[in-house]
């Protein structure tokens, strides 16, 4: 008796689930999913992407259903996660470099689903890539670092030796060098995107070795809190405004503004106009923004603002020749600027002058 009732309940619920599913298709909200490398509370990289996802929801309301998955490791976990999302979504944003191969693999199996991979370089009919020209931001903080440092040592907390991180180091170093020929950059690789304890240890080590400017390419606010504790040390927010953690030490921060891009892409899926694209936007398009200039002389702040505008208007390119590679071999000739692909997107060398071995 009870068994029969149980089966009928099961059948009913199955039926309603099917009904709900089909009615969803008719109502046609776009189902968009985001895969994050860290927790959204990192107040860095993942936080910025999540702000972008929220921006889409704000603007599209009931026309979009958003799913987010946090702290997905860049191993087989990511492939599994992307696969299960692909079964239920129209468009999937995979927001870390290490998701590149899994994204391409899953995309092959789900040709009707659109994929968007951040910071990579592998395209397919249903896979777009997008990244921001963060090196434009690095150029600004590099120049500020060159002007603000007293010890002439910049400490750089790096995560993994991937093109995006290498670009940042090179851009910051070149910019700092351009305003301060005595500048030296010390680079520490922590091999993690997110480990507040280790990031703080790295910042402390760099400060002990003479750095009075800390740059980071990791996702937590730990390094900023260390700079805040140490007199005369300045730092830059990474991916979002970290001023709250460094009221007397954040000079500015590079802010990633993914919102408008995400909105445009999800809208394109809804309108049926989505095509595979290769986006590499920067200051000009508003994808790279800055936290307010702080803790520096007024004239320096306005000079930084002018430099930002000059990059936005195309007067300055952070990589303008002549630039040699670390081993002294020429990379860019006088006045030459590099193409996005392959030079920038696959960058795997330090520029000349960086006094540190390239990690292997």
């Amino acid at each position: 008796m009870s068994n029969i009732r149980l089966t009928s309940i099961l059948k009913l619920s199955l039926l309603s689930a099917v009904l709900a599913f089909t009615s969803n298709v008719f109502a046609d909200p776009v189902k968009a999913a985001f895969v994050y490398i860290g927790p959204t509370g990192d107040h860095g990289w993942t936080f910025a992407h999540d702000q972008g996802a929220k921006y889409v929801k704000e603007h599209m309301g009931d026309d979009v259903v958003i799913t987010t998955v946090e702290s997905v490791a860049e191993n087989s976990d990511s492939e599994r996660t992307i696969t299960s999302l692909a079964r239920k979504n129209d468009i999937i944003f995979t927001t870390s470099f290490g998701y590149m191969n899994p994204t391409i693999k899953v995309a092959k199996r789900y040709p009707d689903v659109k994929f968007e991979h951040a910071t990579g370089y592998m395209l397919a009919d249903n896979v777009s890539v997008y990244s921001a020209r963060f090196y434009e931001g690095r150029h600004i903080i590099g120049k500020l670092a060159g002007k603000m440092t007293k010890s002439n040592v910049i400490g750089y907390i790096a995560s993994f030796p991937i093109p995006e991180v290498i670009r940042g180091i090179n851009a910051a170093y070149l910019a700092a060098k351009s305003v301060n020929p005595d500048i030296q950059i010390k680079i520490v690789w922590v091999y993690t995107w997110y480990d507040p304890g280790k990031e703080a240890d790295a910042a402390n080590a760099l400060i002990a070795q003479g750095a009075d400017i800390i740059m980071q390419h990791t996702d937590s606010t730990a390094a900023m809190t260390v700079a805040e504790e140490t007199e005369g040390v300045y730092a830059f927010g990474q991916a979002s405004d970290m001023g709250e953690w460094g009221p007397t030490s954040q000079l500015t921060g590079i802010i990633d503004d993914w919102g408008p891009y995400y909105l445009a892409r999800v809208q394109a899926v809804k309108d049926g106009t989505w095509t595979s694209t290769d986006t590499f936007d920067g200051i000009a398009e508003g994808m790279v923004e800055f936290a307010p200039m702080a803790n520096m002389p007024k004239d320096l702040a306005s000079w930084a603002e002018r430099t930002i505008n000059a990059i936005g208007n195309g007067y300055i390119h952070p990589f303008t020749g002549p630039i040699n590679k670390q081993d002294g071999s020429p990379w860019l000739a006088e006045g030459e600027t590099p193409p996005a692909y392959p030079d920038l997107l696959t960058m795997d060398f330090y520029v000349e002058g960086i006094d540190s071995k390239y990690p292997n």
Binding site: S71, T192, G197, K198, A205, T225, E244, S356
Partner: protein
């Protein structure tokens, strides 16, 4: 290499080793009583969260550390109840505890990732802290650093100089015999588990209050597992925990400094060193145990005690 850099490196190593010392010395007592609790990471992260949250709301480091201590104990009490009264498998329960702690703290801590707290300043002891070199090296740490070293001494004293310590060790070595002569195995083990939780909680709070004054989910980043390895590394001897913690914590700090000087050792290699060292110690312990000269591993470690009365 100049003096102040050397001092800084030593201070850095001490700070990095403190969470490990707390967590490991707690687990050492637990394992000495014959219980294996793999939930150290989970108890630590809950301590880190509670320490931060209470510090944020009350602004009192003392209450914050106390809260972390109680939080660690609360989580440990779940483990104690399951393994000592319901006799569940200790390995599985401990793993569950870690997963639970990580998930629970991430969930409860959602709203706190955006908050900042005042850093707990280090102690400044007049005169002593001002002595060059020795002052900064010995007399200007956060009080918790001194507490960590004191706890190690206290645990050593308890285990080897008190009657209760002897009973606890005998329970860890042969719970049936201890039970037969009238000792309450379950009570001792529950107390040991709670102590382990309290220590792990403080270790976590040290991370979120002193080492980095922020809250971030998963911020213990595997330190609980290193602490577990550390207990084996120390071959269940309290003072060796300090040695191990300094080596394990020191590896990270020295590695970062080495990079600044452009001396490159593979980071992946270094990060597996603590575990490699633990395995080597385990093997050598086993070899020595064969000769019956020095058996330090508690005999009943991880074994379920069925009370017959």
């Amino acid at each position: 290499m100049n003096e102040s850099l050397l001092i800084n490196i030593i201070i850095g190593i001490s700070i990095a080793s403190v969470p490990l010392i707390f967590a490991a010395i707690g687990e050492l007592v637990v394992e000495r009583s014959g219980v294996l609790n793999l939930g150290v990471e989970g108890m630590m992260i809950v301590g880190a969260l509670l320490g931060f949250v209470v510090q944020f709301h009350t602004g009192s480091p003392f209450i914050a550390v106390l809260a972390a201590l109680l939080g660690g104990m609360a989580i440990a009490s779940i483990f104690a109840f399951l393994t000592q009264f319901l006799l569940t498998n200790q390995v599985a329960t401990g793993l569950a505890l870690t997963l639970f702690g990580l998930g629970f703290s991430a969930f409860v801590g959602r709203g706190y990732t955006e908050e900042t707290i005042q850093l707990i300043t280090s102690t400044h002891i007049p005169v002593l802290s001002d002595i060059p070199i020795v002052g900064p090296l010995l007399f200007s740490y956060n009080p918790l650093v001194y507490l960590a070293f004191f706890m190690v001494y206290l645990v050593w004293w308890f285990l080897f100089k008190t009657k209760q310590g002897l009973i606890l060790r005998s329970i860890g070595d042969n719970h049936d015999a201890a039970h037969a002569i009238g000792h309450n195995v379950i009570r001792y083990r529950v107390m040991a588990i709670l102590f382990g939780g309290a220590m792990a909680g403080i270790g976590g709070a040290f991370l979120s209050l002193v080492q980095v004054p922020i809250w971030g989910e998963d911020m213990t980043a595997g330190r609980g597992w290193i602490a577990l390895g550390l207990v084996v590394f120390s071959s269940w001897q309290p003072f060796r925990v300090i040695l191990g913690a300094i080596i394990f914590g020191g590896i990270t700090i020295l590695q970062l400094h080495a990079q600044g000087f452009d001396i490159r050792i593979s980071a992946q290699y270094l990060s597996m060193l603590p575990y490699l060292a633990t395995i080597i110690i385990l093997v050598s312990l086993r070899m020595r145990a064969k000769n019956k000269t020095n058996r330090t591993m508690p005999n009943c470690l991880g074994r379920i005690f069925h009370s017959t009365t």
